[in-house]
């Protein structure tokens, strides 16, 4: 089993969870940590470390979904991911969007968090597309 942590600037993470509740219901094994103006980097670091420690107790791996590469949430998450002292494997990906978050629910039961990370990045890339009118189809063939 993996655990998903959303790590973003401002209220994006909470907003994504709120949106997910609307179309999906409560997301299992998913939580968020937000970098806030008032708390700043130090508070974020502490909250993120606490969250990783807490969730590692009941997961084979932690998947961190960040909003953007090399932002503070990403930097902090990578420090955990690359540290030899990390309790459980931590995989970090960036560019989180709504479909990616929903798709992550397909892999909650998996064990290899790095495999899940690679699959999700590939699938989420396909969710960005341009709208095109559908092709006409015959109405009679069932």
């Amino acid at each position: 089993m993996i655990h998903v942590i959303l790590a973003t600037h401002g209220k994006l993470a909470e907003g994504l969870l709120d949106s997910a509740r609307m179309v999906y219901g409560e997301l299992a094994r998913t939580s968020s940590v937000s970098l806030r103006e008032e708390g700043g980097i130090e508070t974020f670091k502490q909250e993120f470390a606490h969250e990783i420690e807490l969730r590692s107790q009941q997961a084979d791996g932690i998947l961190v979904l960040c909003d953007m590469q090399s932002g503070t949430p990403w930097n902090v998450a990578c420090c955990h991911a690359f540290s030899p002292d990390t309790l459980r494997p931590v995989a970090v990906i960036c560019g989180v969007n709504f479909p990616m978050l929903l798709m992550s629910m397909d892999y909650i039961g998996d064990n290899d968090v790095f495999d899940v990370a690679k699959t999700l990045v590939r699938q989420a890339a396909e969710t960005m597309c341009c709208a095109t009118p559908p092709l006409a189809q015959s109405d009679e063939e069932f």
Binding site: Y24, E26, T127, A131, T132, P134, F142
Partner: protein, 164 residues
């Protein structure tokens, strides 16, 4: 029996969510039924575009009653999605058999509106819909409120206990 899944969803076709159900159950095409959407060619074409790799038909209730026997007689496996329980009630009253491989009627989002009571997350019913659920339930259909395949669910019997 060619129906593999029967669902009530007030968004009629919702791309990513339909795709999730199609991973769990065989789906050669989707028959979506709503008078309002079917009467609006622009909205119909937008909704058909939501599911790019699957055939989609959008029918009003009268057309659905005429075409569904052909759909049910097919060797292929089809999803039927109605906008509301009242849509499915009309089909059943016209003699359409909603029995399907999933062995139940699945219910997705039913937004809150004036005159509705909340029975679950993003699920609310008005008196006409309550009557329609009772009708479908009395026909022997199991009715399960579940947004996505692996989310928690409750039945119409559970929902009835929450109604005033």
């Amino acid at each position: 029996m060619a129906l593999s899944f029967v669902r009530i969803d007030d968004r009629v076709i919702h791309g990513q969510l339909v795709t999730r159900w199609a991973k769990e159950l065989p789906c050669d095409g989707i028959v979506a039924i709503d008078d309002e959407v079917a009467a609006d060619p622009l909205l119909s074409s937008v909704m058909k575009g939501a599911v790019s790799d699957t055939k989609v038909w959008l029918f009003d209730i009268a057309t659905a009653i005429a075409k569904l026997p052909k759909v049910i007689a097919s060797d292929k496996r089809y999803f039927v999605i109605g906008k509301s329980p009242v849509t499915l009630q009309r089909l059943a009253q016209a003699g359409i058999d909603l029995t399907n491989l999933n062995k139940k009627i699945n219910v997705g989002p039913m937004s809150s509106r004036s005159n509705t009571q909340v029975i679950g997350p993003n699920q609310s019913v008005n008196p006409q819909e309550i009557e329609a659920f009772n009708y479908l339930s009395e026909l022997g259909h199991r009715i399960e409120f579940r947004l996505v395949p692996d989310s928690s669910f409750y039945t119409w019997q559970d929902a009835q206990k929450k109604l005033n």
